[in-house]
């Protein structure tokens, strides 16, 4: 099901569509129009769908647009990974109870914790200095 490469456009997830549109923009010789993107994607997407995706990407800051004549031309501001990072960041900032679902490597420190943590780490490295690790430990 999920492995079907070119199924009905509606069955493809939004994230996947955004990624495809971005990939098309990256392969364009110059800033293309929405019609060019639509053609590039193989025609099973409606023009309005492509426009919707492009404006959504624009809201996210993943593409920029300029007016050229009567339509816009589009330039990618972020690649697919950058777009994923944008979406992830929005999720992390927006969902208050994400911590219950995604287990973070570390949780936030209070000022007191930070001090305590530095003491612990200093003591650990003083007891048994790890070769090569010390110079970097100061970088953080």
């Amino acid at each position: 099901m999920a492995g079907k490469p070119f199924g009905n456009a509606r069955r493809r997830g939004q994230g996947q569509l955004e990624a495809q549109v971005l990939a098309a923009l990256h392969h364009a010789p110059g800033p293309p129009t929405a019609a060019w993107v639509q053609e590039r994607l193989g025609g099973d997407l409606a023009y309005t769908t492509v426009m919707t995706i492009l404006s959504r990407l624009h809201t996210k800051g993943a593409v920029t647009r300029e007016r050229a004549g009567r339509s816009y031309v589009w330039t990618p501001a972020a690649d697919e990974a950058g777009l994923a990072a944008l979406r992830m960041r929005r999720l992390l900032d927006g969902e208050t109870d994400r911590d219950a679902v995604l287990t973070s490597f570390v949780s936030a420190l209070s000022a007191h914790d930070e001090q305590l943590l530095r003491t612990l780490l200093d003591r650990a490295s003083a007891e048994d200095p790890v070769p090569g690790a010390d110079p970097e430990a100061r970088g953080g």
Binding site: M1, A2, G3, G13, Q14, G15, Q16, E18, A19, L22, E80, A81, G82, L83, A84, A85, R87, M88, R89, R90, L91, L92, D93, E95, T96, D97, R98, D99, A100, V101, L102, T103, S104, F105, V106, S107, A108, L109, S110, A111, H112, D113, E114, L116, L117, R118, L120, L121, R123, A124, S125, D128, V130, G132, A133, E136, A137, G139, G140
Partner: protein, 318 residues
């Protein structure tokens, strides 16, 4: 039966001391399993109790759909303050179930959103490296029933950049342990339990902490160096995103937060793998007493629930 009917509702008060004891004396793996089981049992008992109270207390009200036999005076006499308790149980039960459903829905939504966010990245089931200068790392559990969406690790470039190679190995071992040991299931179970009865909230944070400790121990075993793992956790915390609402988290400062406790535990010797402290030490005795107390309270909770159920059944004309 008397006031014992209400026992399942207040028994979760014992969650706090039990969570403390478990954290001090059990291996994090045992602690996670024990506390999750406890939360699930106490949560179920408390919901069952609310449901039965509602039935007994309100069956005599005119126009309700319940069998008339349930409003028998003998049944009501078995529950002290039946009418008040029954009417109070309706909103409580409704609130508990609504909170549960909302938590479940939010859980699935966050999960789906995260997978959507990561969808465009290469390495479908492995690690997703996000080009972001902020430092974060998450274990993203798979979506149940969707083989195309397995669990994966999302880590930012900022996080990778600030750790050295060995520390990165510890980080990945930690996140993989979360996914492999299915920690999200324990977390969801205690979350739902604490929605049902807020007195179980201490178990939620205790399980959140013990799953982190469990993953730390697995990571330390995988990289073969506790001190290195401690350093990875500590350095990652020092560079990671600050708390979104700093004012709330720091309200009661003197108690050390989870990260310093994890680092301290990693710098200490390996916790014993056995799931129980030796019986003749003070810790062992305390654990025994706690276990006996818990078992007794859980049993009497069940007993009260079953008794209520039997009374209702006897009063139902069939």
């Amino acid at each position: 039966m008397g006031v014992f009917v209400f026992l399942p509702l207040v028994l979760p008060l014992t969650a706090l001391p039990i969570a403390k004891l478990a954290e001090q004396h059990l291996h994090p793996r045992g602690s996670t399993r024990l506390l999750t089981l406890l939360a699930a049992v106490l949560g179920l008992c408390s919901t069952l109790c609310l449901g039965l109270l509602m039935v007994v207390g309100t069956a005599q009200l005119p126009g309700n759909p319940l069998p008339d036999g349930w409003s028998d005076p003998a049944v009501r006499a078995a529950v002290p303050g039946a009418e008040i308790a029954g009417s109070a149980a309706i909103p409580l039960l409704a609130a508990a179930l609504t909170a549960c459903a909302a938590a479940l829905r939010r859980h699935l939504r966050v999960l789906a959103r995260t997978h959507r966010a990561l969808a465009g990245l290469p390495g479908g089931s492995g690690t997703a490296v996000l080009p972001d200068d902020e430092a974060y790392a998450y274990a993203v559990p798979g979506i149940p029933g969707r083989p195309g969406r397995p669990g994966r690790i999302a880590v930012s470039r900022g996080m990778l950049r600030s750790l050295d190679d060995d520390e990165r190995r510890a980080l990945f071992a930690h996140e993989r342990a979360h996914l492999r040991c299915r920690h999200h299931r324990y977390l969801l179970a205690v979350r739902l339990a604490s929605c049902v009865n807020p007195l179980l909230l201490p178990l939620r944070s205790a399980v959140a902490f013990s799953t982190e400790r469990w993953a730390d121990e697995e990571a330390a075993r995988a990289v073969g160096d506790r001190r290195l793992t401690a350093r990875a956790v500590g350095r990652a915390a020092l560079i990671a995103r600050p708390a979104p609402h700093p004012g709330l988290a720091h309200f009661a400062a003197p108690e050390p937060g989870p990260v310093p406790r994890r680092v301290a535990a990693l710098l200490a010797p390996v916790p014993p793998a056995r799931s129980w402290p030796p019986a003749l030490t003070p810790a062992g005795l305390a654990a025994l007493v706690a276990a006996a107390g818990t078992a007794a309270s859980a049993l009497s909770a069940l007993n009260a629930a079953v008794a209520l159920f039997v009374v209702l059944k006897a009063a139902t004309p069939l």
